[in-house]
Symmetry: C2
């Protein structure tokens, strides 16, 4: 794979991610993507086979990294003996924050992820469930150890709510607009602090 090819692939993925976040999968056209990436229209079908292939690659690129970081944070935690609920939640939420703060179009993918939750497409749902569901199960094991009085079904209910709330908050899709005085990054950092406290209280209830 030549350097030029790599550059074309990456530019397409970056622009596609941003446009999917802004206009949705059906709402963003390949012509918008290729124009934004300054590549030929046919490049998408050449490199990704189809539009859906492009969509899946946008997810895979970020989710692989996100899942790896979350599991690594969880594994680092397991080595310690004094695990707290907040620490586990931090291991789950913080990687998403870190990723959203990345240099180029950081927050874009979190918004794409929020859209994916809203999509009902079976193929996309299955793809996400295989990745995200696995991480959630790993975390559930640790949560169950920390919360012995919580039965499994009840925990899954609450984790489900937390996952939705995290995605929602990270995507900054709230109704209450953030104060323009603080930056988007500071906004996200605050959100993580609040989410952890909120989720911990909810799990302990």
């Amino acid at each position: 794979m030549s350097q030029a090819s790599f550059s074309t692939r990456e530019r397409i993925l970056g622009v596609a991610e941003a446009l999917f976040a802004r206009h949705g999968f059906a709402g963003a056209s390949l012509r918008q993507v290729t124009a934004g990436a300054k590549v030929n229209l046919a490049a998408v079908n050449y490199h990704f086979g189809s539009k859906e292939g492009l969509i899946e690659e946008v997810f895979r690129r970020r989710l692989d990294e996100l899942n790896r970081e979350r599991l690594a944070a969880l594994a680092a935690l397991a080595a310690r003996s004094d695990i707290t609920l907040e620490a586990v939640l931090d291991a789950f939420i913080r990687p998403a924050l870190q990723q959203s703060l990345q240099a180029h179009g950081g927050g874009a993918f979190v918004r794409v992820l929020a859209r994916a939750y809203a999509e009902h497409d079976e193929r996309l749902r299955r793809f996400l469930s295989e990745n995200y569901g696995h991480v959630l199960r790993e975390f559930a094991i640790v949560f169950l150890r920390l919360l012995p009085n919580l039965d499994k079904d009840e925990l899954y209910w609450r984790l489900d709510i937390i996952a939705g709330a995290v995605t929602y908050a990270m995507a900054d899709f709230g109704i209450i607009k953030r104060r323009s005085a603080i930056s988007e990054d500071a906004h996200r950092r605050q959100a993580v602090t609040h989410l952890i406290a909120f989720a911990a209280a909810g799990l302990r209830a």
Copy 2:
């Protein structure tokens, strides 16, 4: 407005709501909508002016009712002297549940609402903010009275998270699939119970 016209309008709105929930606003075409409603293609532009006019009417029809019910439930609560946090949260969440349990395509609108959160379209966002934001402010007043130690900004953060969690949970967009043994209605009723307990704990933290 004749009976036939009313019927046509309502059939279009019902089918559009279901298709928007399933395929998104850009993903559902007017030809799918009119075919499903068994009306002529031109009927949409005749009755609603444009596709966007149809989208707005889908929202207005349900949101007006939802907001009215939420504020009514809150007002009924204000008459009492022994207001609890759970009761206020119930006034906020239960109307959404009731609506989602309505006979014809009950859960559809909640999913449309979840999609709207993910949309970045400025016109749609403004429309939703005007309706939903107003209700949220009314509730915030009561919450602040019940939680005197919570400052306003912090409360808004948490309400934001709750609103997102409610929408996601109600829309049944969780990663963990509900057990097929229980019905969708029972699933939603459980969700409300859990959401209220979760949210109350989070607000009291």
